[in-house]
Amino acid sequence: MKNHVWRPLYVVIAFVAAILLFRYFYVPKDFGSGARGFMYAFHRKSNEEDWKKQPVKYRDTGKQKMHEFCGKCHGKEVKVRSEDLHGVIPCENCHGPAFRHPDEPRKLTIDRSRELCLRCHTSLPYTTSERKRIPGIDPKTHNVGLECVFCHNPHNPRLADRRGQ
């Protein structure tokens, strides 16, 4: 072949070689397709470990596993409270995520807001939904401006029980 063919061809070959070299150094060594094949699992293997290293914030396991985390120190409260009317609600839903409690934060910030209670206790006229079994109020007329915990015990909110105490 003539010189005018080879010259641009050298440029192209050098260009491709440069890309391959760059790719060799830039792409992490653990990049591969794994067991699920190229179409669904072409990835950097060490990223799976990156995701596993994320910190766990909600530490308690709820009533199903008998509050493994909270129960370690607050065993007495957990035992009493899980029998209460609101015992099915996980501690951290209102008391806030534990993070690294008791080191950091030393004290959890409890959400006592009206908005928190209204998540379940806003009256919605949905007879086909499980919502119908939960006592509901109209937030526009039911003691506007007052926090619910002013009258109701958040763990056992039935007012009749409170009067008995």
Partner: protein, 257 residues
């Protein structure tokens, strides 16, 4: 060529041509094992138990550091209200981050619709999240190999490798992906990979007081939730897309997509 040779050759050619292509494919033992690994995570949602409190959305956003008030979320709850005169209203204000505290349905653009309680036919809540499909379209379209399916069946995004092109966001038929506004990468539900690999449940399952959300290893047939998926009448979203979703719904209405 003799007649005998001609017939012989014909038989050889016909026999050769009748071997299917698939018979010549070498079986990769790794792939066979991948089709049946020990752990395969699946999600079970009981829509009949959901009351739309939105604790799951709140827990998810806190656990995974999602910008709290931005209009993005990895999981969300939809409200479906059907009236007696066959009008359909569907909303999910802020993905139900603060629950459903208004009896009016959010129509969008600042408009709300008050529905007469006597006119409400059926109404229910449906929690949604990434379906972690067995054949996820989002991982197929990624041009750089930043999103993938792990061996235990979770679809993840490599945040250091994602270039933020948004193909996967468009490819997902369930709108489960979104663009992370601060990290500038595609983001999605990870089934709380840092929790499930430590033996904990996902943040949303953990936060649900009513047991509307559950998780299980679908290969562990002794698991109660697996038995529900295998034995009872569960449905998946958009089955006809061929994505083989791994989030199963109890009490799925045909209007839910």
């Amino acid at each position: 060529m003799k007649r005998r040779d001609f017939i012989k050759n014909c038989i050889v050619v016909i026999a050769g041509a009748s071997v299917p292509l698939s018979a010549l494919v070498m079986v990769d033992p790794k792939k066979v094992l991948a089709a049946n690994p020990e752990i395969q995570w699946a999600f079970l949602i009981d829509t009949t138990k959901c009351v739309g409190c939105g604790f799951c959305v709140k827990a998810c956003k806190t656990e995974n550091d999602i910008p709290f008030n931005a209009n993005i979320t990895r999981t969300w709850v939809e409200r479906y209200v059907f009236t007696m005169d066959d009008q359909r209203y569907i909303d999910s204000p802020k993905g139900a981050l603060y629950g459903f505290t208004d009896s009016r349905v959010d129509l969008g653009m600042g408009e709300f619709k008050e529905i007469d309680p006597r006119n409400v036919g059926k109404a229910f809540f449906v929690p949604k999240l990434c379906n972690h499909c067995a054949t996820p379209p989002c991982t197929q379209v990624c041009p750089v190999g930043a999103t993938y399916k792990t061996d235990d069946g979770v679809v993840l995004v490599d945040r250091t490798w994602c270039i933020g092109c948004g193909y996967c966001i468009m490819a997902c038929p369930y709108a489960a992906r979104y663009f992370h506004p601060t990290l500038k990468v595609a983001d999605k539900c990870t089934f709380c990979y840092h929790r499930i690999t430590k033996g904990l449940e996902t943040a949303c399952v953990n936060a649900c007081p009513f047991g509307a959300r559950k998780m299980c290893n679908i290969h562990d047939t002794n698991d109660r939730n697996t038995q529900v998926i295998l034995r009872e009448r569960v449905g998946v979203l958009k089955d006809d897309f061929g994505t083989k979703p791994q989030a199963f719904y109890i009490g799925l209405a045909q209007e839910v997509r």
